[in-house]
Assembly symmetry: C2
Homo-oligomer: 266 residues x 2
Amino acid sequence: MTLASPDAFEAELRAIGAAAARQKVTEAPVGPDELESELRAIGAERYHILHPFHHLLHNGKLTRGQIQAWALNRYYYQASIPAKDASLLARLPTTQLRREWRRRIEDHDGDGSQPGGVERWLALTDGLGLDRDYVTSLAGLLPGTRFAVDAYVHFVRERSVLEAVASSLTEMFSTNIIQQRVAGMLRNYDFVSEETLAYFKPRLTQAPQDVDFALGYVKQHADTREKQEHCLAALRFKCDLLWAQLDALHFAYVAPALPPPGAFRP
Amino acid sequence: MTLASPDAFEAELRAIGAAAARQKVTEAPVGPDELESELRAIGAERYHILHPFHHLLHNGKLTRGQIQAWALNRYYYQASIPAKDASLLARLPTTQLRREWRRRIEDHDGDGSQPGGVERWLALTDGLGLDRDYVTSLAGLLPGTRFAVDAYVHFVRERSVLEAVASSLTEMFSTNIIQQRVAGMLRNYDFVSEETLAYFKPRLTQAPQDVDFALGYVKQHADTREKQEHCLAALRFKCDLLWAQLDALHFAYVAPALPPPGAFRP
């Protein structure tokens, strides 16, 4: 009796799961611009801007308690991003690549003079009236949020550098969602201000800079159809984990509104 | 500027998250029977028998398509259990412990003469009219299922042997749910038979045998309050990941019934 190791097992599962893609894998790679179109098509179908929770959030349909739940859960995602990036940084082979990725960590952790993204997210949870110690304790986090975010950190730690970089490409679609969010939330909620939404403004310049590099890297290094398929799968995976976080929020706090035992209750 | 490694970061997050428990950690350990009571209290509050999806499932309130979605998603959990157990087996220090844990893998993977649990689960998905290749391809899996199950495999791979063993203790509560499930499903659904539910019958004898060992191990080895707290947290984590799987199913297929892009549609 042979016992597969978990890694071998996961590889086998992935191989089975990729059956539908296998025919394509033997094909020649598409050109860089066609690859970019394929990546953008994934966003058009799966990016979480399409999730009903975001429609409600941006259109003024949520209560303050529901927005607290969103901000509290999303804190764990924000706080995990520099850990995710540090695990990739540790595996990058050149000074140039490490410099690029180090900048991302600085964007999120700050440099001691400017607050980073994690700190700016806490300005939002503060502004919504949440206790900062409670937020950072993660005591009220939805398990669904934790599992989705941890899946991202594990993915970046375990997959190839190319797949890890490709998984960051949801930023290609983020400028649009941020503009909708900030405008919609300022218009629709009197308990939200420019100060509490301070997280988002720097992202409007940081994200396109990130994308310039990461998209260029993927277009250059995905030089076989198999690697291109891996990049497309990585972006699909990333879209899925953003979407799953909203599923968990929507289920717990909107409809049917059943927060699991131990989770935050507004 | 110091960059925390992901492991250090996770440890810090856990330390912060355990703040509420910290006062207790300096206390003396409770006796083995009191520890068992504390473990059972977690089940009474958090075991997924309490989830509304299970009430619907057992009481005949679901459609065949909804039950297909449950069986298809739960397949990934079943198929990952031997991988989880193999990763613990690889870290166990004695022949006696490895024998005990090897038996669990045999229960799920079979021995070539009797079908194991994974194979018996496929008898259920077959009986429900699902294509076996589609089920095992995982193509229609809910991302929420994948993230919760993978979180379990990662937990067992990364935490102490004691915590890994403690996380198996949801089996303390499984006899009851299996009896409810089998009786309820046979009574309420004409497309379900004893053959399609063949997965469950051996579990009624296997699970108590597993529990005898694992509960005894935890009661013996959790000899400080800190270790006991870790065991309680491991069981809470496990309850959460079973619960989160039902949240994802309920959200996608019951209410509001919004399966994410790419997921199974009955």
